[in-house]
Symmetry: C2
Subunit: 165 residues, 2 copies
């Protein structure tokens, strides 16, 4: 079970957009160049972020993207769900209903009103994954990056980005 590459790209793009000055927009082509990913596929990830209200895009020669909300209010979960959707990683297809021993039992008599005990465990684990992602915002990420990316690379990248906004 693997997340799409676009999740990785979307997270990196949001990390960069988190550093833009107020009302600055960074074009898709520059986000693509900075991360070495194909512009056309990256566009789809950015559109998904836009539809989820995480980024705002403008058209035109100075067009591009900026974050739609303060960095402290955008979580990893917001970004992951914008690209992957909110559906649980476990889909219960109710195979318990195929049990031939049910015979002519009504759904109520067979206990269908209660979710399958197996699905409940799987859904709980999915919630634990989402809760972990919900606990980290772009503000938290920016703090970690500032501490862990070497200062010279950090400054060069910030200047490279600013020139293009």
């Amino acid at each position: 079970m693997q997340l799409k590459n676009q999740v990785e790209w979307a997270l990196h793009c949001c990390a960069i957009l988190a550093g833009l000055g107020a009302d600055r927009y960074l074009p898709t082509r520059d986000l693509a160049e900075l991360h070495g990913v194909p512009k056309e596929y990256l566009s789809k990830a950015l559109q998904a972020l836009s539809q989820a209200g995480i980024v705002v895009g403008t058209l035109g020669p100075s067009g591009g993207y900026r974050l739609a909300r303060p960095v402290g209010s955008i979580t990893f979960l917001d970004i992951v769900e914008a690209v992957e959707g909110k559906q649980s990683s476990f889909v219960c297809t109710e195979i318990r209903k195929n049990n031939p021993c049910r015979g002519s039992m009504s759904p109520a008599a067979a206990g269908d009103g209660r979710p399958c005990a197996i699905a409940r465990v799987m859904w709980e684990a999915d919630r634990a994954w989402r809760k972990s992602l919900e606990g980290v915002t772009l503000a938290d990420l920016a703090k970690t990056l500032e501490k862990t990316v070497p200062a010279s690379l950090w400054k060069k990248t910030a200047a490279w980005v600013e020139e293009r906004t």
Copy 2:
């Protein structure tokens, strides 16, 4: 991001095998009939469980599968990883290395020795998912099923299974 159907099937099969008497084996065709799933695809899931040391299979006319270990020592994580593998749901492709601002920086100077801060958050969430799955054994599941599956269906199913072992 979705788990394979075989994860659901493997979990249901293990729940049934958890109820078998000592040294009893249940054939694949009966496991397939009980769950209403295609025998050929179910065989692959059972083989994956066998390779992971969760079930033991025997060949021949009275062949089939039983659990390889006590129910208290088999977790949901064991079963999920047998089918899906142990690789994290997030694969870091190191797109930070494509940053044109790195220029002629050495990998060490660019901070490559430290894992990407984005990947670390994603890996932590994957670990939270696995930890949740690791916290539930087949013994726990059996207790829940005994409480939640209606008694008449529970007995009929146990008798149906026993006849075929």
